[in-house]
Each structure stands twice: as structure tokens, then as C-alpha cells.
Amino acid sequence: MKILVRNQQGITVLSLKGKITIGVGDVALRTAVNEALEAGARNILLELSGVTTVDSSGIGEMVNAYTTVTNRGGQLKLVSLPAKVSDILQITQLITVFEVYDDEPEALASF
């Protein structure tokens, strides 16, 4: 998985591309979130339009990122979910946990 990091309006945006799966993608997500927090980020937006597969370890890492950011007093939100990622959030009922937005300007304005 590839992760592009940028700053938009004071929000750290992580654009994920590829598979968030066990052993590689989940580790990359954890590392990127931890590096962003260590660099001083408070609020993080995961931009998921390029994600093709999320296995249980990947969704677990997204939950881990959510709780890590929240416990530090920040917010982690999701934007541009492909249909299959949205399906996973519905099936796992994590759609009730994450704030999800269709487009990035709307998501950025919500922080």
C-alpha cells in the first residue's frame, strides 16, 4: 500500500492506495498515523478512494488509529470510501463509529 501525506487547512490528510491487509498495509497505516502524531498532528483525515481491499487486520488498524487519535484529544475521519470499503464498515457496524464524508472539502470543513 502507498500512503501520500499532505496538510490541508491544518488537517493531516493521509491518502491511501492499495490493500490495507495483514502484514504490510496495516503496518504502513499504523506507521503513517504514528509519524503524523509525532510530527504534531492533532486531526487526521483518511482519504480512501484508492483502497481496493480491507481485511480484518486492516479494519482493526483503522479502529486502532481512531482510538489512538481520539485518546490524544484529536479527531480521525474518513472520506471518499469505495463501495467495498463502505460495505465493510456497514457489515462490521463501524459505520456507527467513524465519521464518513463523500468529498474532501466537506470533510475538511467538519473538523
Binding site: 495483514i22 502484514g23 504490510v24 481485511d55 480484518s56 488498524e61 462490521t92 457496524q93
Partner: protein, 156 residues
Amino acid sequence: MPTPEEEPQVKISIGSRYDHIDLIQVVVDDALSRLGLDEDSRHWVGIAIREAVANAIKHGNQQDPSKRVDVELALREGHAIIRVHDDGQGFDPSTVGDPLAPENLLKPNGRGIFYMKNFMDEIDYQCRPGGGTVVTMRKRLPELDSADADEAPSGA
């Protein structure tokens, strides 16, 4: 003796490394494509297989790369039958909590079997103390519902 229909279409044996999971998914996806399963269904079946293999590597074989994970795809009565066998100490799936329970919803682990149950028609665990775990997953092949089921491809 298995009937010809039950002879595995695909047999793969890997060492217990996560980077081998992609290989299994690619090979099984190709076989299921030849058997007529549509792309959307193959995506979800592929994730279920990933979960079974990941569990075998992580919980069964404790990520010992010298221990094998064997994956078989066979046909029976209009279903794809996928078996994943590890070399570990056995596993009791009933010990895994409900990932939808409020107290578990924010846990980072414990969704693998839930994924498999959601994406396959049926899953079954056979655990033999000291003899590893075999998870068997079934997925109906819609094209085989019709009267010409015996014209299904016989090889992958």
C-alpha cells in the same frame, strides 16, 4: 476415495509468511473466475480466504515460516469448497467474542472469523489437538444451479 468432482482443482502449500497470502488469493481468484464466479463475489471470497490463511499463519503456526499452510479448492454439489489447513496446536473458534457486541466494537482484533462467516455460505472448523486446524468454507457457484451443471469446467 473422493469422486472426480471432489478432486482438488487447486492445491497450494506455503510457508507461514504473510506475503504469501497475495499468491494464494491470485491463484484461487483465477480458478474461481474459470468456474464462472462473478468479480464481486470473487472479491468477498478472496477476503474470506485471506482471513483463513492469515489465521492459520498467525494463530495456528505462530508465524513459524517452517510450518506449512495448505490450501485446497474443490467442487462438490455446485459449491466451491475451500480448505485451509495449518500445522498448529488446534483452535477453538467458540472462544472468539462477537465483534458486533458494544464492548468489542472498538477492539482492533477478533473480526477474522466474522469476515469468513459473512462472505461465505458456510464455514466449519475441525480442530485436532496437536494436529492443526482445518477450516472448510463453502460458496455456491450460481452457474451450477442450472440443469447443465455437469458442463462445469473440470480444471483450473
